[in-house]
Structures are given as C-alpha cells and as structure tokens.
C-alpha cells in the first residue's frame, strides 16, 4: 500500500482544485488501451502518455489496459466491436500493427478506426559486424544485387517493420525482394547476439536496440532509414548515401469508430496539448523517440498511404497473398 503523506495529498487536492477553477479538464477521464503485453513499445507509449496527461493536469484520470495478442489484432478487434462511439477511449498502435493485420488476414482493419494523431517515430538502423567486409551502403547494395539470398539479414518478427525495411531496401537497391534471406528472431536481443557473433551479414532493427553497441564500437552502423540524422550522433541516412528509401517505426493513437465530431475534436485537442507539454518532450528525450506529431486529416492520409505501401511490400516478399 502506498500512503500519501497528508501534506502531499493536501497539496495535490489544492493543486487539483486550482486547476479546476481556472480551466476545466478538456477530458476528465480517458481509457488508454495498449494492444500488447506490458513492457513493449506500445505499452511504454501508453504508460508515458498516462504519466504526462495526469501530471500536466490535462486529464483527471487515465486508465491503461493491456490487451495482448497477435500483433495488436485482438486489441483492435476489441476497440472496433466493444467501444463503438466511446469518446473516452483511445488505443495506441503503430506501423507494426499494419503488417500484423495484413498477414493475419484480420477481419478488422485500420480503416474502421478514427485516426487521432501520430506521436513518435523510431529510425531503423542497418548495422554489420565489425569484421565485415561491408563498409558502406554501396557495398551492401552491391552484395544484395549480386545475390540477394547471400545477404543474411537478422531482425525482428516476420512481417514486422524490420522485415519490411529489408524488403524495401532490396527493392530500392534493384534486387529481387522475393529472394531476400531474412531471418526473424524473437525480440529481446537474440538478433543482436547473432549480429555480434558474426552469424549474419547485416542486422536491421530500431536504432535504440543497437545504440549502445554502436557507441561502444562493437557494431558498425551503415545507415539509418530516417529522413534526417539523429542529433548528437553520427547517423548517415540512406538518402545521403544514394538509396532513396525512408521508413520509420511510427506509433500513433486512434479512437473507436462512430464517435461524434465533437468527441473527436476534444480528443485531438487533449493529445495536441499533451504533445506540446514540456513533460512529453522530456519523455521523448529519455526514451530516444523522435517527435513525429501529425494529426487530423493529414494523419488520416498518411495512414492510408502507409497501409498501401506495407501491403505492396508484404505482397512482394510473399507474406501476403493478394
């Protein structure tokens, strides 16, 4: 049990009443679903949002629930079927859910939810073992053009952002994406071990997964897939090195279908205020997430374009039969 000291709780009450007096909560109560088990990226996003929303007094109570399973397919099904028209419900999702819904042939699609905003993005990094003959993106392009199957990629789950990025890289480099030799590892650093041990040609995963190894000089960073370099770290982009490819692992929030225009407006405003708060900027810095805030119709358009692109890649690497 955690007991607040009386003085502390009194301060909290005073602070809360003061807030109430000046500006009513835009959103008094919010339910936030992370369609994954505690600990992963979506869960951390949801819990960071909870922390910021409540600390900055934007929302009186925020409740985080976890609905794990099948890359978010179970969570989104619950959102669409059970929360229709609920203006206090949000769900965290992201790039990975798109691939999962397509490969799982989910009956529920992202077109059914109400897009609210894209929040963060994480660049993908391509790394090679230190003793690898591959020194640059051009070397990798040459190798993959010569024989795509001899370039062994290590990364996260099949059909996830790492796999898609590897497929897109092959395609952009002018090789046949159906022939790539991508070896999925179940998260948690198994892929990293295979790269460090020199078992594979290249590794592809979120920059955060490799960052400390790169800084310690145990892995060679070839390129990141983000549009720009990371601040304070030498991270050459693919575009800088002549490969026209941009892909980030973005995360966003969406609301259930069937909410009113007013409800949508309130939710969007709450998130807008949250993103602009110093507390959120602090969270981004801590977690190494890039700010990728995009809301309203622009976000809806982005979602659609991204879905088309994912569908195309997954089909071309043979994970989705069209």
């Amino acid at each position: 049990m955690i007991h607040f000291r009386p003085s502390l709780s009194r301060t909290l009450i005073v602070a809360a009443t003061a807030l109430f007096a000046t500006s009513a909560f835009a959103q008094s109560e919010l339910k936030l679903m992370a369609p994954a088990a505690p600990g992963g990226g979506w869960d951390q996003t949801a819990r960071s949002m909870q922390q910021v929303l409540m600390q900055s007094g934007l929302t009186k109570s925020v409740q985080v629930t976890n609905v794990p399973g099948a890359g978010g397919s179970i969570g989104i099904a619950q959102l669409v079927n059970n929360s229709k028209g609920d203006g206090n419900q949000l769900m965290v999702n992201g790039f990975v859910m798109m691939g999962a819904l397509l490969t799982n042939k989910s009956p529920v699609t992202l077109e059914q939810v109400t897009p609210i905003a894209r929040l963060t993005a994480e660049a993908e990094a391509i790394v090679v073992p230190l003793n690898s003959p591959i020194k640059s993106v051009q070397d990798l392009v040459t190798a993959i053009k010569a024989d795509p199957s001899k370039v062994r990629w290590a990364g996260g789950s099949a059909g996830g952002v790492d796999h898609i990025a590897a497929g897109l890289f092959a395609k952009t480099a002018g090789a046949d994406p159906t022939k790539i030799n991508y070896i999925p590892f179940s998260g948690g650093g198994e892929a990293l071990a295979a790269i460090l041990g020199g078992k594979v040609t290249a590794g592809i995963s979120g920059l955060g997964e490799f960052e400390s190894q790169i800084k310690a000089g145990k892995l060679r960073l070839i390129a990141v897939t983000a549009p720009t370099q990371r601040e304070g770290m030498a991270t050459p982009t693919l575009k800088d090195q002549g490969v026209d490819l941009e892909i980030t692992n973005w995360r966003s929030v969406v609301a259930p279908p069937g909410i009113s225009a007013d409800q949508k407006k309130t939710l969007t405003e709450t998130i807008d205020k949250m993103v602009k708060s110093p507390a959120w900027q602090e969270v981004l810095k801590q977690k190494g997430w890039d700010d990728a805030y995009l809301s309203g119709d622009e976000f809806a358009a982005f979602l659609k374009a991204e879905n088309d692109r994912v569908h195309e890649v997954l089909t071309s690497i043979g994970l989705v039969k069209s």
């Binding site: 955690i2 088990a37 505690p38 600990g39 869960d43 951390q44 819990r47 909870q50 922390q51 609905v67 794990p68 399973g69 099948a70 890359g71 397919s73 179970i74 099904a77 490969t103 799982n104 989910s106 199957s149 001899k150 062994r152 789950s157 099949a158 059909g159 796999h163 030799n181 070896i183 999925p184 590892f185 179940s186 998260g187 948690g188 650093g189 198994e190 990293l192 071990a193 295979a194 460090l196 041990g197 078992k199 594979v200 960052e211 400390s212 190894q213 800084k215 310690a216 145990k218 801590q286 977690k287 190494g288 994970l319």
Partner: protein, 499 residues
Amino acid sequence: MEAFTSLASGLSVAIQPMNLLFALIGVLLGTAVGVLPGIGPALTVALLLPITFKLDPAGSIIMFAGIYYGGMYGGSTTAILINTPGESASMATALEGNLMAKAGRGGPALATSAIGSFVAGTIATLGLTLLAPYLVEVAVSFGPEDYFALMVVAFVTVSATFGDSPVRGLTSLFIGLLLGLIGIDILSGQSRLSFGVPELYDNVEVTTLAVGLFAVGEALYVASRRHIHEEKLEAVRGSLWMTKEDWKRSWKPWLRGTAFGFPIGALPAGGAEIPTFLSYATEKRLTKHPDEFGKGAIEGVAGPEAANNASAAGTLVPLLTLGLPTSATAAMMLAGFQQYGLNPGPLLFAEQPALVWGLIASLFIANAMLLVLNLPLVGLWVKLLAIPQPWLYAGILVFATMGTIAANPSPVELIMLTIFGVLGFLMRRFDFPIAPVVVGLILGPIAESQLRRALSISLGDPMVLLQSPISATLLGIAVIALIAPFALKNLGRFKAVED
C-alpha cells in the same frame, strides 16, 4: 582482484538503509507473485515501472532484482505443496517435490529448495561478478545451429521424465510438440493450426498448459477418486527439517544444478526451463536411490531448484554486459534502466560502476533475505496440506483460474485451461506422464526455429550442424547419452556370459 574491490564498494551502496528496504520490498513482492500461477515477475516489474519513475535509480533497480529472485523462490513453494508450478521454471520441481509433500516430507522439500536456491543464487552471483566479461564472449558465439544441438541434448534427456513406459512417455511428448505448432510460425509469419482464432496466434501459453495439466488435472483426479479410495495426506512425517541424510543427498545436486543453470541462463536464448530439465535428468541418472524417483526423491527437488535460481543470475550476464535482455523480466529491467537514461551495454560497467556493483551486491543481500524469510515459513506452509482435501483443491482451482485470467484476460484462455485440465485428468487416469507434454511445448518451437534459422544462414546446407565446434560437441554428447545406457546394458550381459 579488481572485481572484489568493486564488489565491496557495491556492498556499501546496497547496505544503505533505503536500498535495503527496496530489496526487502522486492523480495516480498517477488515471492508473492511467484506463488500466484500466471502472474510472473515480468508483469510485476512492468506494473511498477511507472510508479518507480520518481525514485532513485539504484533503489528501484535493486528492487526489480529482488522481485526477480523472489519470483524464482515463490514459484517453487506452490509447485511442491499443491503441484501448481507458479512459473514454468518450477515445473521440474513439482515432479518430485509434490510427491515428497504427499509423503509427509514437504518440510525437507521446501528446505532443500530454499537452501539450494540460496547456494545456487550465491554461487551464480559470484560467477556474475567474476566471469561476466568472459562468459558473454562465449554466449554471443552461440549460433542457431548450436542452440539446436543444445535442444537435441535436452530432448535426449527428456526421457528421464517418462516414468515406466517409454511408449506412453513419447505419446505425451508428441502431444506437447503438436501443441507447440499452434500459432504464428516465427520464421514465416504465417499462422498454423489456429483455425482463425486470434488468441491462438500467439502460441499456447506454457503456464496455461502447466497449470491446466498439473493443478486442474490433479484436482479433477482427486475428486474422481474420492469415493473409491480416500488418499490420506499426512502433513508431516518425521522431521520438519532436513536430516543429515537429506543434506548429504542435496549438496551435490545443488552444485550440479548451478553448473547447468548459470551458463545456460547466460545464453541469449537459453532460458530457465532447459537447465531445470537437464538437472532433473542428471540427478535421476546419478542418484544412489533410483527407486525413490517417482515417489519423491530429494535430489529431484534440490537440483532443478538450484538450476532455476542460477539461471536467473545468468540472465543478468548478457543484460549488464551487452544490454541483451534474454527473459521477459530482463527485458522489463532493461526498460527500467532506460527510464533513467542508463543504457546497459558494454559501457555500463565503466560509466555507472556504483549502480552496477550496487545491483550485484544487492543480489547477494536479496538472496540472504529470501533464505531468512523462507526457512521459518516452511512450518507454516506445510500446514496448508492439513486443510481438508475438498477445500484445498477448491482453493487450488480458484487460484489457478485467477492466475490465468490475470495473465491473459480472455475467455479463450479459460477454455484452454479447462481443456488442458480434462486432458491432465485423463492422462492421470490412464497413466500417461504429464511433464513430457510441457517439455514438448517448450522445446519443440525453439528447436524448430533454431534449426530453420541455421539452415537459412547456411543456405540450406545441413553440414553446418557438424561444422560448428560447439554444435558438433553437443550432438556428440547427445549421441553418447542416447547409446550409453544400451551399450552398458549389453556390456553387462557379456560379462554375465563370461562368468
């Protein structure tokens, strides 16, 4: 002896009163969640992360480590007393431990598990202190083909859990392998045998299967036989404490269990379950009391318990030296580190020595705390067995159901629990061993995916299994383990003829 001076300065961090308090909270919480089937240390750390955000980093990371060790302890208590392994790593403990409890030897079983965990945890933490930088080199050089070979060794030793009939044992194992096929295939991303049920995409949860087969199955079986033949449970027969004989039979298994647990725990894809099976199989083979296996042999508790605690310390090797989280709990601890802007990895030891050594030192303290906490409780725990059977088993059913629901709130999970419970009942009724099913579910998918990864890397050439020295050695051990019993038997026959 730089490591020892660092450790000494770490101790000075760990014995600060606030950090001691955090360690205590950690081990208490850990023991509590370890006892509950389904709720593991990973979930607990995840739920605590946002709360600990404001705390001092050293304190909360020390608390997380306490939870981790405590969870390993707690899981064995329920495994021994009510045949409900709280974590899958306690399953091997349940095999002999519960039989001991039923024979009135619950006290010594709990004691050997507590002391064995302490011994193993301490030795393994020492190993972490001294060997971490070297061990990690070996761990990283383990490729998919080597993991596959390790799985083959594990498969060969599984037969130790078969009981009297190899045919029945193999049948059970294949049920487990079949269940292991359900869900999304990790290499191709396609779902298999899931019949469009989204809950099945994520594979059959090991804890759901173990709790269903062990706890629910047992409850149904006991209920079905109540009127035919009432089993008399004696809570305590003989001493509540370990006798001199018990000590003599326990210390070697503790050490061997540690020798399995620590290195395998340190492998990025090693895990806690495999060393417990290997330890169980080894003890069964080496024991001087083979007749007692299957009736409650203390070696079968001492070894696996030491192995699972040692593997918990092993997991910290890749986490601290490489930033590789190799278990769900380690992944959560990594998130904990990152929350404070700390990046575990090659630089952590250099950049944050006080924190790292404070953590390692507090592992020693957490271990000692757990021993002090658990030994006096042994007497209290065994009283559980004096509860009238109908109440006890009704309680177990509630417990099992709640734990499953808490871990995975879905009706499908409950239906699976029920099906596995009925399966467990039928298997008991018709004398099929239960453990191989769970072993199959754990080992099958790992063996399959590692073999396919190895073949992907070698572009389909199976020779890779023999070209890697580690893999070739392990496969050699597997062949010897498989052939040796037959060869020895025939040798014995020859000798008999010669005489």
